[in-house]
Amino acid sequence: MILIEKGHIIDPSQGIDGIGDVLIENGKIKEVNIQSKGQRAKSKEQGAESKSTPIHPYPSRGEGKGGGESLFPEPRVINAEGMFVIPGLIDMHVHLREPGFEYKETIKTGTAAAIRGGFTTVCCMPNTYPINDNASVTEFIIRKALEGLCTVLPIGAITKGQKGKELVEMGTMKDEGCIAFSDDGLPVMNSLIMRRALEYSKAFGLPIISHCEDLTLSEDGVMSEGLLSMTLGLRGIPAEAEQIMVFRDILLAELTRGKLHIAHVSTEGSVKLIRNAKKRGVNVTAETCPHYFSLTEDAVKNYDTNAKVNPPLRTKRDIEAIKEGLKDGTIDVIATDHAPHHRDEKLKEFDLAPPGISGLETALGLSMKLVDEGVLTISQLIEKMSLNPARILGLLTPHLSSLITGPKGTLAKGADADVTIIDTKKEVTVESSKFVSKGKNTPFDGWVLKGVPFMTISKARIYEWR
């Protein structure tokens, strides 16, 4: 049993925003007590009384699936005074690199990095080696995920080999544990195949996550196209490469009534298209990543490969549009697109270095700046990073799959005890060499971030940092 007391609890799923206590028992949320400023208190009892209620000892090992022997005769009490207590963050776009690219990251190290960043659930993209385009690779990932420090939910490929030609066995893969499908890393260039994917997936109620990039326009581009790319002599990717595919996918979603989720939105034009589509009632959701509202293309001025990412960093206007999109709900989710690479791979010619930023450990701090700037309230931020991902992936209601036993993205009674406690006063300077992730590739080295996880509770374990 764990008692988190005196924290500022924020649970947008229940409209909770106030000081109170959270009680965890057997790996589930038992109850939430609000003492002040709360809209809806979960329990009538006062805090003091619940503390004195006799409780079962809480298991410190195991999967939190039920009771068990405990090493602690008394409940663990955590003083969260002055800190935010929120449902664990859910990152629906992560590259864990296992199987096949373990030199960049493994499920173990990736989930450790996630925990460090305050994430209790991550969804891993299928561009591994072999690609997760069949049930046996999914099964491998699920098995490996048992060692993971947080919950790992696999995203299956849309097409076999991500070649964009034949659909995968979505039903079988769902049964094995996939919670969505994406060819991320690549778009599905063939419109007919994308149409079929959106149609077919309806049978299983799972979203199609689209990496929107017209490969014929982006060709061998390595940064955003514009004055800077011309000055640096680097081939550019026009914003239209993303927008054209966003538009196409929206129309196909409209046509098929399938469930479309647009990955890593990076341009003003895309935001406008999505806003418009939502107005028309299209079933589309969208995500962006912290680097798209924190950095412009100037970050690659000195050919710094740590700022090389796909889609590329864009302009100030795009940053403003993305912030606006987050504010008015056009963009539902902030995900990391965590893309770790080995140091040697980034120490190369700019053209040859693989794109990607190792983002799990900086996401929360960078996103908290949006709260500081007044773009989002803290409650809205938690929606973007926990509630909405849970909603889109159907994690608010428990699945029949063996992976998920309780709701996530919420602190409602019976939900999985995935909790993040955030210290908003502490300032941390980003030091990539100290990252838990194997990937040290970040353009945010030296940045001072406020709002870092003080403690992350996941899979019946408590992780804390002083």
């Binding site: 011309m230 002599g233 081939r235 053209d351």
Partner: protein
């Protein structure tokens, strides 16, 4: 010269450029003597690290180094280091371990000289990185113009051809605008980036318009591969519209000079008569290139580490 490396014209101030050109004048004198050598950089080692094939630039640097009494090593990597298996950084560190004081690098990827300059103690000289810059070419072009015309400021200079893919064009645009010339670009719209207008250069798509009264015409090489990628439909069409002919040259000033970085596609971007004619300074560019490269090495060697 502020820095131990020459990465691009972008990084140079007007004073830096003038210092290089003045020093080059001194070296051009040396090249006119019987003994064309000076002991200034005796005992130093220069390494030509060319990842792209090039005979003329490499030979020019090699000779420049030798004229300064420097030892020269030539590393010609046939294609990108990836094929060889050795990483770029490893190759560069190996070269440094051999005692290189100068690394003259040509590579198909922009930013490579910048990467090496950060990692190596040696002076890195950019001999062409992708479509970014080719600073010594622009310096020798500026030297040639200055020598022939007495100045650069206020001159009308036209660059003709494949601007978008030409590092020679980019470096020249940065250099000549810094030195106060009025630069014009002439070519088909597919070969001139829109963003160029932000540089304060004139953009023309017609030779007849663009060449009016210019003091200098600089022709750029048309690369045949571009034809296949939709940049222009055929070399015949290109030549017809943007080739430099005698009639077109008459539109320029009477004392116009014609330049070309080489190698030339005779009959395509430039007619043979002009290439061999009295207005052409193409061969002098080559001689001046030697003097300029000597000046660059001499000045970089004097920079305190």
């Amino acid at each position: 010269m502020l820095n131990k490396d020459l990465l691009g014209i972008k990084e140079l101030s007007v004073e830096d450029i003038n210092l290089i050109l003045d020093t080059a004048a001194g070296f051009k004198d040396v090249l006119g003597r019987d003994i064309k050598k000076v002991p200034a950089l005796r005992g130093k080692t220069a390494v030509n690290l060319f990842f792209e094939p090039s005979t003329r630039t490499r030979t020019s640097f090699e000779l420049a180094a030798k004229r300064l009494s420097t030892d020269v090593i030539n590393f010609s990597v046939p294609t990108s280091s990836v094929v060889k298996g050795e990483s770029l950084i490893d190759t560069a560190l190996t070269v440094q371990a051999l005692g290189a004081d100068f690394i003259i690098i040509r590579h198909s990827s922009a930013g490579v000289p910048h990467l090496l300059a950060k990692k190596l103690r040696a002076s890195v000289i950019n001999a062409g990185d992708g479509t970014n810059e080719h600073p010594t070419q622009a310096l020798l072009d500026a030297f040639t113009i200055r020598e022939k015309k007495g100045r650069i400021e206020g001159l009308d200079i036209a660059l003709v051809g494949d601007i978008i893919h030409s590092r020679v064009a980019k470096s020249n645009i940065y250099g000549l605008t810094k030195l106060g010339a009025n630069v014009r670009l002439i070519g088909p719209p597919t070969l001139i980036p829109r963003e160029m207008e932000d540089f304060g250069v004139g953009v023309f798509h017609s030779m007849e318009e663009g060449l009016k009264n210019v003091d200098v015409v600089m022709m750029l090489r048309i690369q045949m591969e571009r034809q296949g990628k939709g940049f222009f439909p055929s070399t015949e069409e290109y030549s017809k519209n943007w080739g430099l002919t005698q009639e077109r040259l008459l539109l320029a000033k009477d004392d116009v000079i014609v330049m070309h970085p080489g190698p030339m596609n005779r009959g395509i971007e430039i007619s043979s008569e002009i290439a061999d004619g009295p207005r052409s300074v193409i061969l002098e560019q080559v001689t001046n290139g030697l003097a300029v490269r000597m000046a660059v090495m001499y000045l970089l060697a004097g920079v305190k580490r």
